[in-house]
């Protein structure tokens, strides 16, 4: 049940306790064990699920990258056939974009957004769980193509008419269209949910200009998703109709237009780039101030530049099409608009550097990744300016120069941001720290690996190596740098293993010798550090009253006449204890996972046999029905140790949350 629904008068006067509830329409009650994960609606558990699933797909997509790099290590590589290579690079792109980077951001957004705004959950907890299962099942569905005739082979951009049945008669591209539609449902639902959460559920006093930058950037991202996903959805429907039902939207010989696909794809595809990078900018804007012990430099500029990037991101899509022959007027317009999107991005870089300037830098692994992002993203941004020039782009597009560019942005930007964030928020997730020493190894291997892999691609591209070629020849001059790039790719693989080793070792150490990291191990600034680690299920004992930006920091520190911080309280004293009782939380539900499970059946049915679609449809209808009529709470859903269940709406985290009852419960001493 949505938390904000709990405000309705009906909720305030609960219905009389039913003596008997119909089996499956009761709510699950498990709080531990595997069932607690399958049926959870807790935003923190959903966030962790996103994180784990995206790591799984990272391994899948990373393995595909290793296959690509092994094939290209030497001229005339024979590891993969051309047909298989085309599937592998296509699935690598789709996996990394839709099943790794986006859900990594979703993991952090889900976990942190309610905590950063002082809420107890997202606005629609069941929808949140549904988003995750949709994403997971969509991703598994996409990858199941490997076992059912081969993956998509049209590239992640999947240009028409190469994507038609004539040119790609296998089922790979059907899996692409339907899988992305399912994953698109996940992202759309999640975006609506998070937007409503941030708009409606901020703690009292958490005004727009007091929101943490990560929350701001994630919010902008959700708006990008809401406005761009419908476009790719339309495009995928057109593609599906062309492939499954013989329509001709993209068939030039019957009056269709292949460029229609390109425009639709990139109207989505370019905002998608910012969808993947803006949350990483947000993470960096949390890490750098914390580890510099200074507030973010120019908060209004940071927020405004993020919004500007999001807004301008919708006006530059055709820079992916400078070679497509759309005419010099369109080329001029998009070339100029693209150049100026560098301005707000540059502002961010300079503001981060200004934050660092004069600071007291603690070079933790998180900080290394954050400064790594600043350094690596700058390289990607600068190469981006060179292909904003349309004439130069006609030399660069579809070469490895572009591959270098977007990997510096996506790996050096998004992935660096997420890894930095993981080291930072790990105690909040799991109640223990990651090992810093192994973390440094992880960072340096990642940094060296990525520069070895993607740095040489600049040279390869400028010297004329095209993208998406399954092999090259002696005498084209591509041998050396390809070999270096392959060595780099395996270095990145090792760095990822080091990260997994770190997760395992740190967990074992914590099990053997538990050490409470405390609520605030980094001496950090935002609200999530004012609750215990790991975060208790109800997040906040009491919804905090926000007085200023970086509120939690200012509860710990005042400042002297020179503007230097002076400690006024220990974190442990101002943090919440996490021992509140009687907090009303949404109950788990069976239906999000069941509803999401129905969608791949429908998709299989459209590809193979409509019987499967009927089964899927039945599942969807039944679970929507179950979703609607299931009781709003589980029987006896009280918390352990609770004396008396009070059905007051304290769980909604909205402006009205600070009731008299809660103030009495306040645990600050």
């Amino acid at each position: 049940m949505a938390l904000i629904e709990a405000r309705t008068p009906a909720e305030l006067s609960p219905p009389p306790q039913q003596t008997k509830q119909l089996g499956i329409f009761a709510r699950p009650v498990e709080t531990t064990g595997w069932k607690s994960w399958l049926f959870t609606v807790d935003h923190k558990k959903v966030g962790i699920l996103y994180g784990v699933a995206s790591m799984f797909f990272f391994v899948v997509g990373g393995s595909e990258a290793l296959l690509i790099r092994t094939q290209l290590a030497r001229p005339g590589g024979k590891l993969l056939s051309a047909a298989l290579y085309n599937q592998v690079f296509t699935m690598h792109g789709i996996t990394l974009v839709f099943l790794v980077v986006m859900p990594m951001m979703a993991a952090l957004a889900n976990f942190l957004l309610p905590l950063q705004i002082g809420a107890r959950d997202v606005a629609f907890p069941r929808l949140n769980a549904f988003s995750f299962w949709c994403y997971l099942f969509g991703g598994l569905f996409l990858n199941s193509a490997w076992f059912l005739g081969g993956g998509a082979d049209g590239g992640w951009f999947n240009y028409a008419p190469n994507s038609s049945v004539t040119f790609s008669p296998g089922h790979g591209i059907d899996f692409y269209a339907l899988g992305l539609l399912i994953a698109g449902i996940a992202s759309t639902v999640s975006a609506v949910n998070l937007i409503i959460t941030v708009i409606n559920m901020r703690a009292p006093g958490m005004t727009w200009m007091r929101l943490p930058v990560f929350t701001w950037m994630t919010l902008v991202t959700q708006f990008l998703l809401v406005f761009s996903l419908p476009v790719i959805t339309v495009a995928l429907f057109l593609l599906m109709f062309d492939r499954l039902f013989g329509s001709n939207f993209f068939n030039a010989s019957l009056g269709g237009d292949p460029l229609l696909w390109q425009h639709l794809f990139w109207i989505f595809g370019h905002p998608e780039v910012y969808i993947m990078i803006l949350p990483a900018f947000g993470i960096t804007s949390e890490l750098i101030p914390t580890f510099s012990r200074k507030p973010i430099f120019g908060y209004p500029f940071m927020v405004a530049s993020g919004i500007a990037i999001g807004f301008m991101g919708f006006g530059v899509w055709a820079h992916h099409m400078f070679a497509s022959g759309m005419g010099p007027v369109a080329v001029t317009a998009f070339s100029v608009s693209t150049m100026f999107i560098a301005v707000p991005t540059g502002v961010k870089i300079l503001n981060w550097l200004a934050t660092v300037y004069g600071g007291r830098l603690r070079m933790t692994t998180s900080m290394c990744f954050a400064l790594g992002l600043v350094s690596m993203f700058t390289i990607g941004g600068l190469s981006g300016v060179t292909h904003a020039l349309a004439p130069a782009d006609t030399q660069q597009t579809d070469t490895y120069y572009i591959v270098a560019h977007f990997h510096y942005v996506l790996f050096g930007g998004s992935i660096f941001g997420v890894l930095g964030g993981y080291y930072f928020w790990w105690p909040k997730f799991f109640g223990h720290m990651l090992d810093e020493k192994i973390g440094k190894w992880h960072f340096w291997l990642t940094l060296i690996g990525m520069n070895l892999t993607f740095g040489p691609m600049h040279m390869l591209g400028l010297q004329g190596m095209s993208r998406r070629i399954f092999s090259y020849s002696d005498g084209q001059g591509f041998d050396l740098w390809n070999l270096v790039a392959t060595i780099g790719a395996f270095t990145i693989a090792v760095s990822l293993l080091v990260f997994f080793y770190n997760c395992w070792v740190s967990y074992r150490r914590h099990k053997a010798n538990p050490q409470d990291p405390g609520p605030d191990p980094w001496d950090a600034r935002s609200l999530e550090w004012s609750v215990p680690s790991p975060v208790p299920e109800h997040n906040f004992d009491e919804i905090p009253q926000i007085e200023e930006f970086d509120d939690f920091w200012h509860r710990k520190y005042g400042h002297d006449e020179n503007g230097r911080p002076v400690k006024i309280a220990d974190a442990a004293d101002v943090a919440q204890k996490g021992d509140a009782t009687g907090v009303h939380l949404p109950s788990p539900s069976y239906w999000p996972i069941v509803l999401a499970a129905g969608l791949p059946f429908i998709a299989y049915g459209l590809i193979f046999n409509l019987v499967w679609a009927a089964i899927g449809a039945l599942l969807v209808i039944v679970s929507i029905w179950g979703w609607v009529i299931e009781p709003s709470t589980a029987p006896h859903a009280e918390h352990p140790g609770e004396q008396q269940h009070e059905p007051e709406p304290e769980g909604d985290g909205g402006e009205t949350a600070t009731t008299a009852g809660e103030l009495e419960e306040a645990t600050v001493d």
Binding site: A83, T166, N251, P258, G325, P328, G358, Q395, F470, P565
Partner: protein, 403 residues
């Protein structure tokens, strides 16, 4: 602005930062020292050998320079900031905490405005270059039609301007040097991209559309190219070349192309090879003056719809072989037609002469999909015809006569 404890020396940090930055700059320059080498990198985008590529190069090189300066400033800045402001192991908690500065509006407006101004200047040159290149294409001295298909390029010349092509060749586009040639790019199936990096940027071949760019080679020579829009299975092996000839050589080449095919002498292996060609190859490969069954036609002219008329979006046809040996490569620019060239008859003469690569042609006929991935079961690419060794020898004998 802020300073930490005043009694501390930062010399060591500055030295480390300076050395690291210098290493980064020197290392990058060392790595880039051969970047414009064209001999070892025939597709190099940074060594223009024609007018259009040079205009692009002139636009982008100063931008690379500006980007290089920003790169050094930012990366050097990060290194400097870390060296200068990092907390050392002997620092005590809370000691020397920084002044809490929240921003500086004039500074921030400045670093918004200055990059915007720099970009505005670059944008002006950019827009001028876009329209300059467009003008080149519209003011071409002659035109050639380029047709992309899976996975090779066809070139059509209409020398008498009657709207019908008089010469159809494949994989090697021959143009006169020092002449602005307009290239009208079309596609027969999926999207391809025509790209000769040393002469001009790329332009997509999109079904249902004609896109025009200009090529202007400074000097006679061979300029390598590669299809750069992903076009399915054998995209990686879809290559082409531009051969620029002196104007006199170009006329010689054109005269030869306008002639009909060489007829093999009777009772030679080549004549037997022609008979095999007519039964096994002619349904896809055209020799001017013959129809798809190998019978002579009335006109003797090349047929632009040969073999592919029924499938406007699927390339059912194959390269025109009338003057096969006037080219250097076959099968989408992949394999050489000559092992060596005769003295004085360099690759850039009107007609290459020398030792034909019998072995390459023979290998190809033995198993085409084994040499280059193709979807021959779907009418795209050459199937394995299961020819006998005898048939292969005779076909090679015939094909190598097609000068």
């Amino acid at each position: 602005m802020a300073s930490t404890t005043p009694d501390r020396s930062h010399t060591r940090g500055y030295v480390i930062a300076g050395v690291l930055t210098a290493l980064m700059v020197v290392g990058t320059l060392l790595l880039l020292r051969n970047i414009t080498d064209v001999a070892g990198h025939p597709l190099n985008t940074l060594r223009p050998l024609g007018d259009q590529a040079r205009k692009i190069d002139d636009l982008v090189v100063p931008v690379f320079a500006v980007a290089g300066i920003v790169f050094v400033l930012v990366e050097g800045g990060v290194i400097f900031l870390i060296a200068r402001f990092r907390r050392r192991s002997d620092d005590a908690d809370g000691e020397g905490d920084p002044v809490q500065i929240h921003g500086n509006s004039s500074l921030e407006w400045a670093w918004t405005a200055v990059p915007a101004l720099i970009l505005a200047v670059i944008a002006a040159f950019n827009v001028a270059a876009i329209w300059d290149l467009e003008g080149d294409a519209q003011n071409a001295e002659m035109n050639v039609e380029v047709v992309g298909q899976q996975w090779w390029w066809e070139f059509r010349y209409d020398t008498n301007e009657d709207g019908k092509p008089d010469v159809i060749t494949a994989n090697q586009l021959v143009i006169p040097a020092d002449t602005t040639v307009g290239v009208n790019i079309r596609s027969n199936d999926v999207i391809h991209s025509f790209w000769i990096p040393t002469l001009n940027g790329k332009r997509d071949a999109v079904p249902g559309r004609v896109h025009k760019i200009a090529l202007h080679a400074d000097k006679p020579g061979i300029y390598e190219g590669q299809c750069t829009e992903y076009c399915g299975l054998s995209h990686g092996y879809m290559r082409m070349q531009v051969k620029a000839l002196t104007k006199a050589d170009y006329e010689k080449w054109l005269d030869n192309q306008l002639d009909g095919p060489v007829e093999p002498k009777a009772d030679t292996p080549a004549a037997e090879g022609k008979a095999i060609f007519n039964t096994k190859c002619a349904s896809c490969h055209q020799i001017d003056g013959y129809d798809t069954s190998g019978a002579p036609t009335a006109s003797g002219e090349p047929d632009p719809e040969y073999g592919g008329a029924d499938h406007p979006l699927v390339s059912g046809n194959a390269p025109n072989l009338t003057h096969l040996m006037s080219r250097d490569h076959f099968a989408g620019g992949m394999f050489p037609l000559y092992d060596s060239y005769d003295e004085g008859a360099a690759r850039t003469s009107a007609m290459p002469s020398g030792d034909p690569s019998q072995g390459e042609l023979g290998d190809w006929l033995r198993d085409p999909p084994g040499k280059k991935p193709m979807a021959s079961d779907r009418a795209r690419g050459m199937p394995n015809l299961n020819l006998s060794e005898d048939e292969i020898d005779k076909l090679v004998a015939y094909l190598t006569t097609l000068k």
